[in-house]
Symmetry: C2
Amino acid sequence: MPYRPFVNQNCSIARALEVVGERWTLLVMREVLLGRRRFAEIKRNVGIAPNILSDRLQTLVGHGLLERQLYSEHPESYEYVLTGKGLDLAPILIALQQWGDRHAPAEGGPPRIPVHTVCGHDTQPQLSCSHCGKPIGSGELQVRPGPGASNEQLAEGTLPKG
Amino acid sequence: MPYRPFVNQNCSIARALEVVGERWTLLVMREVLLGRRRFAEIKRNVGIAPNILSDRLQTLVGHGLLERQLYSEHPESYEYVLTGKGLDLAPILIALQQWGDRHAPAEGGPPRIPVHTVCGHDTQPQLSCSHCGKPIGSGELQVRPGPGASNEQLAEGTLPKG
């Protein structure tokens, strides 16, 4: 089934979702981010059919989020290694994990807790402002039209973001 | 087409995706976060078929991310208002936007630029540690098994996260 792109939106969220928004893709990337690089272990942990996993991995390699590397010649087998572009998905997955922990919780509490390796403590990563350094609270962001804005987006001006 | 859940994963990312991972859903939520609350304007901006939008809105109301409120009696019409649970999606959409800006850029540059309303400046929100307050760099997170971990997750111990 061909994937119809989100056309005419002029939106970086839509463009990101064209790459990673397909069902299973973010779960496959979760596995690689957790250090699982091999087809069989990704397949097992995600519970994905092999033909679909094969297709998703090919797409992710094609878009430059993963690299396929030979790790054994006899038998010939490969592993999938993160690129910088793939590693940059981490904040998306962290945000999904935090939302799930809070709003769709598992019985018994969070299955996984993030740890900040630099300070060594459990952490709930939070957004902070690159300008003033303060934590960004709920409803404290707006968006203004950027250099790539369409005429319509320019006319809208600044909008709330939540 | 029924949506088969991501079963047996014991993962908050998978549980979050069961609510918001369907095609179009995050784009619908983007619109509401940008202040568009009415069916017609969401439909136009997302470029979504009305039957699909109707279904997605119903799902989002059912899961408690949006509330349907009467805003006009003659003619009878409704708008969709964010709940706290819906507003908490903002960090996911910001992370997607930043990834799209960087790795799937529009010609001419970012269509939209986040502004921190508290300090009034453009911002590139970044993750910081809730314990030590420092920005969290790429590859500086791990995950450890939490109270809801399965036996298998407990046996895995601490894993990298990118």
